[in-house]
Symmetry: C2
Subunit: 298 residues, 2 copies
């Protein structure tokens, strides 16, 4: 490739930057970042690529354009580069929720242009360019979205591109994507935030020094609940219908758990607790987590 434009150079953007550079996938990598703090970090880290101030100036010479900003930034940037875009441009993004962001794209992106969305299932509780790493996508899934504005040719190109990033790809409709990830990712994050919030409320009320004893379970949730707040606000808002339904299912099940506990319903509780165990072994078998007790922490 002659050149790639990365828009937004946080954890994901800088990881792509590192890997693209390492694999020598483009003669030129342009990086557009608006946060002054991040720009300072990128310079200090001497990350590869050319920092640019006006994405509209380099768009026409970039074969691949990757949006790595929070989803709430898409509209503003699309409007800025819209007139310099051409149907030959392969445009993608790495957003975690699809239906709403694709509506925004559809509404704002000029007619005749393509947008073929990606979602690499990779991330961390830390953010910023200093935490990016070139192997972030290694052995991870990357979902490619077949939607109104996607292009078959671009899907084929992106399949190969993400393969070079180390990922396996799968095609999905935005509807299916948003349903699946409302359960496997969005609800777990919300639940983790909510658990930590509840512990904070309890701590304030009881004036106990709780966190000293967090090794018994709470610490695990605190990791996920430390994730980037802008990114997660965008996801919760964009996928609010599915997330809402997931919350309802969760509360229904939790109330039933509570009932079983209060009435000491031995058989039902044991059945529930034993069944969930099987999920862990399936996840390990699918190589979606490390096969070591306690994540190999100790």
């Amino acid at each position: 490739m002659k050149s790639i434009l990365i828009i937004g150079c946080g954890l994901l953007g800088s990881s792509l930057l590192r890997k693209i550079y390492k694999k020598k996938l483009a003669k030129k990598i342009f990086v557009y970042e608006t946060s002054k703090r991040n720009i300072k970090k990128i310079k200090r880290l001497k990350l590869p690529g050319t920092l640019i101030r006006k994405p509209e100036d380099v768009v026409s010479q970039s074969e691949l354009i990757i949006f790595c900003t929070p989803m709430s930034e898409y509209e503003k940037i699309i409007l800025r580069i819209n007139k310099n875009l051409h149907s030959r441009h392969i445009i993608t993004d790495i957003g975690s929720s699809k239906l709403k962001s694709l509506k925004v794209v559809n509404k704002n992106l000029r007619k005749g242009l393509f947008w073929t969305s990606s979602h690499p299932i990779a991330g961390s509780e830390v953010s910023g360019p200093e935490n990016g790493k070139q192997n972030l996508f290694e052995n991870k899934w990357c979902v490619l979205i077949k939607g109104k504005r996607s292009s078959k040719i671009h899907l084929k190109f992106l399949k190969s591109f993400w393969g070079k990033m180390g990922s396996r790809t799968i095609e999905m409709s935005p509807e299916k994507h948003d349903k699946i990830f409302s359960i496997t990712s969005h609800l777990p994050h919300l639940i983790a935030y909510n658990l930590v919030k509840s512990a904070q409320d309890f701590e304030k009320k009881q004036k106990y020094d709780l966190l000293k004893y967090s090794a018994g379970g709470l610490r695990d949730f605190s990791r996920i609940a430390a994730s980037n707040e802008i990114m997660w606000r965008d996801i919760f808002f964009d996928n609010k219908t599915n997330v809402s339904k997931a919350i309802d299912l969760f509360i229904k099940n939790l109330k039933s758990f509570k009932k079983d506990i209060i009435s000491k319903n031995n058989k039902t509780i044991l059945k529930k607790l034993a069944q969930t165990k099987k999920v862990r072994s399936r996840i390990i078998k699918l190589k979606q987590d490390i096969n070591k007790p306690d994540f190999g922490r100790d």
Copy 2:
């Protein structure tokens, strides 16, 4: 010490066994285990100590007796060894919930005998003697319970004993213990079980192959939800009043989160998400978790 009796040789019991042997804390270590599967494993692993069939026979010569069985087993075993016990015996347990189990102890243990309860904040999603390790208690907290049947001298002894196991100790009333751990441990486990259960329900209904995409959050919960079901049933049942209150607080907060998401209450959501972040850094500062992104998994 002349001899120690370990009652129940699963993850915790076998970890104590390994450490006591390594530190040469007793001339003789008796091990009482009823599960045939575990006995086979103990023999195959050639664990130290002497497997015994009748705990009542070795009780009188054991200075320290440690209950490491599920809490629902205490009554049966107490009744069996009751008449061979003497007030000089230091009796402790490692159960995760205290008020109810101490009631059982109080009711069944002969008058004049002491029971000084411990709770090492150490564990794992895996169980059984094959998963025990001598450093399980290293740098962990161990809560010692000051209650009706505890003895000052035994508290002092146990403080030193757990110190040798590698733990720091703190004294607490059973009431305070059960409140704190309902939030830092029991609720997180219940929530993890409930999340995995909800994902299973969703999977069945939608016929989606969800778990492939669990790396986005669900996998973390699946680890905790793989914990031993007998142990956790006992904890939920024994601490049901506090767990119930914790569930209510959690549901109240989750409903408020849902409302904020549906109404896109930007300010409130961002405040909540940003606040929970601080908890993670406090937990890391308190050395209650590994200071590496993603638990250092990748």
